[in-house]
Symmetry: D2
Subunit: 98 residues, 4 copies
């Protein structure tokens, strides 16, 4: 059983790390913008872009999680399947509200 060692998103791991590294760079760029007294509206535009990039990563991870981890658990059924589905629903609610 490989579920425990292999998270569902592993096939695109490098892609996610690269996107998160870019988000880290955006957060560093934002500090520089504040430091350099850049215009507030330009900083806000950059924050919106960073938030969208983070959301896109989250939606990608969630999609892979549903397709692999949740689907596998659902195929097995039982309380573990219920737990995985409740956990996914709670994560979706946090994303929608954040």
């Amino acid at each position: 059983m490989t579920i425990a060692v292999d998270p569902g998103y592993i096939t695109r791991k490098d892609d996610y790390i690269r996107r998160l590294r870019r988000i880290e760079g955006q957060a560093r760029g934002l500090q520089r913008m504040v430091e350099d007294d850049k215009y507030c509206i330009d900083i806000l535009t950059q924050i919106s872009a960073t938030t969208s990039a983070l959301q896109a990563v989250a939606l990608g991870l969630l999609d892979e999680h549903l397709q692999h981890c949740v689907a596998d658990a659902a195929a097995l059924g039982g309380p573990e399947a219920d737990r995985k589905l409740q956990e996914a629903s709670a994560a979706i609610a946090r994303l929608v509200r954040s």
Copy 2:
């Protein structure tokens, strides 16, 4: 006229830089989580926290921008005031939709 050299949020500059540095650290932590095959749901929780932190920075900057830059422009009136208000509305729309 100090508007151009002094962005409205300057009084809390250190606070914003510190918060953005923490967000940068969260983005770095997210890369490590993916690298280390952490559980997908835990990564999603961390992304929601990072998104909320970014939104809180944006709302703080926007509030200061309205209180200083927009209010000063509105007090002067004229096309510059209109432009600042339209610009602020567009930034708010981007935040609400991102």
Copy 3:
């Protein structure tokens, strides 16, 4: 096979209809507020409450859809399971972005 005739949320149908009727009432109340020149900020507060109520309905329906329809399809496997999962992911993305 009961999936086609029985959507997953059927157990709480009355509850959803009652909540949506309340949302309809909120939309009617908003028209009255505009009609009566109510204060803009009070109208915005009411819109935020209505949006949150709609989101809560969406999250509830999505949870039931995942627990029933998607879980059943995943248990059967095959292209139908893939299609259901992709469809759910697309709906989640629309919710997060709306």
Copy 4:
């Protein structure tokens, strides 16, 4: 002083009422969809459309509120201007988070 009797959005009152009536109709349509056991994903798509329509109304009202009410208060200055700006910031925060 006309601020108290004339909310800032009055020029487009009919437009807002018409849009809110359409949103009311969408909420009624949603009840029918649940009643008729429509497919869950189709209901979610319709909820996302309704939420976006509500957000567009909110952004329009907020824009007019900033351009009229807040700008007028800012031009007068004093504690009333501060209060109006804080109130607007709080409404923006509720919109971003809802």
